[in-house]
């Protein structure tokens, strides 16, 4: 729990009283039993690392933040989720989609890049060019934060 609680986005976990308002408000949890934010909080609080970090569990959240508005304790479940994901990623649990976006960001400053046809159309419409201006700065930053390693390792 400490590892999560001591991160800027993970504090909320200490406030959780397991009331279940988040889980019963969560659009995903309503659809699938696999996802249960409340239970995930409980598992993190009790330090079930193996059962959480390498699994799918951290990756069901939509970040729609409905829970943030419903939690009576201001436990910010949806926020804590990012603290958990950061930890999961450090352990190499990164969904392909996320890894791809991270990589793209590191290489082009943007997570999504236009395909050829789009570029052509931009040109024909006289829309601004899509450049990688600022890439150097972005990479410096990611080097400093250590995300570069993560990107390269995945």
């Amino acid at each position: 729990m400490g590892e999560i609680a001591n991160t800027p986005r993970g504090k909320g976990i200490l406030l959780c009283i397991q009331c279940g308002r988040c889980s019963s408000s969560c659009p995903v949890a309503r659809l699938t039993g696999e996802h249960n934010p409340r239970r995930l909080m409980e598992m993190v609080i009790l330090g079930f690392k193996k059962e959480v970090l390498p699994t799918q569990l951290p990756w069901y959240c939509l970040s729609c933040f409905t829970c943030l508005d419903r939690c009576p304790q201001g436990g910010d479940v949806g926020e804590v989720m990012f603290a958990i994901r950061n930890l999961a990623v450090k352990q190499g649990n990164t969904p392909a989609g996320v890894a791809a976006q991270a990589k793209s960001l590191y290489e082009t400053t943007r997570v999504i890049n236009p395909v050829r046809t789009a570029l052509d159309r931009r040109e024909s419409l006289g829309l601004s060019k899509i450049t990688t201006e600022g890439l150097e700065e972005v990479q410096k930053i990611l080097r400093r934060t250590g995300m570069e390693k993560i990107v390269k390792s995945t």
């Binding site: 800027p8 659009p27 996802h35 969904p95 392909a96 976006q101 999504i112 419409l125 400093r144």
Partner: protein, 289 residues
């Protein structure tokens, strides 16, 4: 009214019609948009999931660019909006984090000062321009069209960083009504489109979208009006996927709010723009196209 225009990644790459419409419409309403040279990705939820510090720093870098321009930022995409808005809020209030971020930024000779605000297309139109002025600009009101609006999560949630619960709802609806279109209430309007799970858990993403589509169908709307390009993508393209997986026909055309406004102001969509909608809008808006 002058803004540092934060385009983001998705729109210039995949939803050009959105960009074109904005560039056409806003000057008409007296809003000047200055492109942000060298802006990087806002650092959306995907990146936030990877590393917190990187999110803060990358978003802050964008904020710094706007500070250098001396302009408030206007975003189009909800993801960009929430990311930049959150970081701006946090860094304004939390000196400790601000120092950390500035240390990182010092690498690239930048410093976050907290001098600007982050706004969204809807803020600008309903707040700065004003619904009345928008209404005034409508030359050919679009009558007899029932739509459900999808403001998207990050225009409205969490409460504490947006002014009030249904802000996005009320203001967006007011703007939509201004074009002459009827915005119909429907169940679970607050609910997410499913987009954020795209590429992470496509199956779930689809199921969420389906819930949304069912609710919209129940309200007997003829189309969905979106602000966020992700919502657009998820409900438009996603509809085809839902069709494929659940073989359910919804046939709900999805329209960028700004396109609606553009048409109302008498500026027709080009053919390629019309085609950009995977659920055809021709039937619905034939007299407009």
């Amino acid at each position: 009214m002058k803004y540092a225009f934060f385009l983001g990644c998705l729109i210039p790459a995949r939803e050009l019609s959105y960009e074109v419409s904005v560039r056409k419409v806003l000057p008409e309403l007296g809003v000047e948009l200055v492109d942000m040279k060298g802006a990087n990705c806002c650092a959306p939820f995907s990146i936030q999931s990877v590393d917190h510090a990187s999110w803060m720093a990358l978003a802050a870098r964008n904020l710094c660019l706007a500070e250098e321009m001396g302009l408030d930022i206007m975003t189009l995409c909800n993801d960009c909006y929430e990311s930049l808005l959150m970081v701006n809020n946090i860094l304004k209030r939390n000196p400790a984090l601000r120092d950390q971020v500035n240390q990182i930024l010092s690498e690239v000779g930048k410093e976050y000062k907290g001098k600007i605000d982050v706004k969204n297309l809807v803020d600008v139109l309903s707040g700065d321009v004003g619904v009345d002025k928008v209404k005034g600009a409508i030359k050919e009101p679009i009558s007899g069209l029932r739509v459900g609006t999808q403001p998207g999560c990050h225009l409205t949630k969490p409460k504490r960083i947006h002014f009030e619960v249904l802000r996005g709802f009320n203001e967006l609806d007011a703007l939509v009504q201004a074009t002459g279109v009827e915005s119909v209430p429907y169940e679970r309007k607050e609910m997410c489109c499913g987009g954020p799970l795209r590429d992470i858990n496509d199956d779930l993403a689809r199921q969420v979208s389906r819930e949304k589509l069912i609710a919209l169908k129940n309200a007997e709307v003829q189309a969905v009006v979106t602000v966020c390009p992700f919502c657009f993508l998820q409900l438009d393209l996603g509809q085809l996927e839902v069709k494929r997986h659940f073989n359910e026909e919804y046939n709900l055309p999805v329209i960028h709010f700004i396109e609606l406004l553009r048409m109302g102001m008498g500026m027709k969509l080009d053919d390629w723009e019309v085609k950009a909608h995977r659920i055809p809008i021709t039937e619905l808006l034939k007299d407009r196209l």
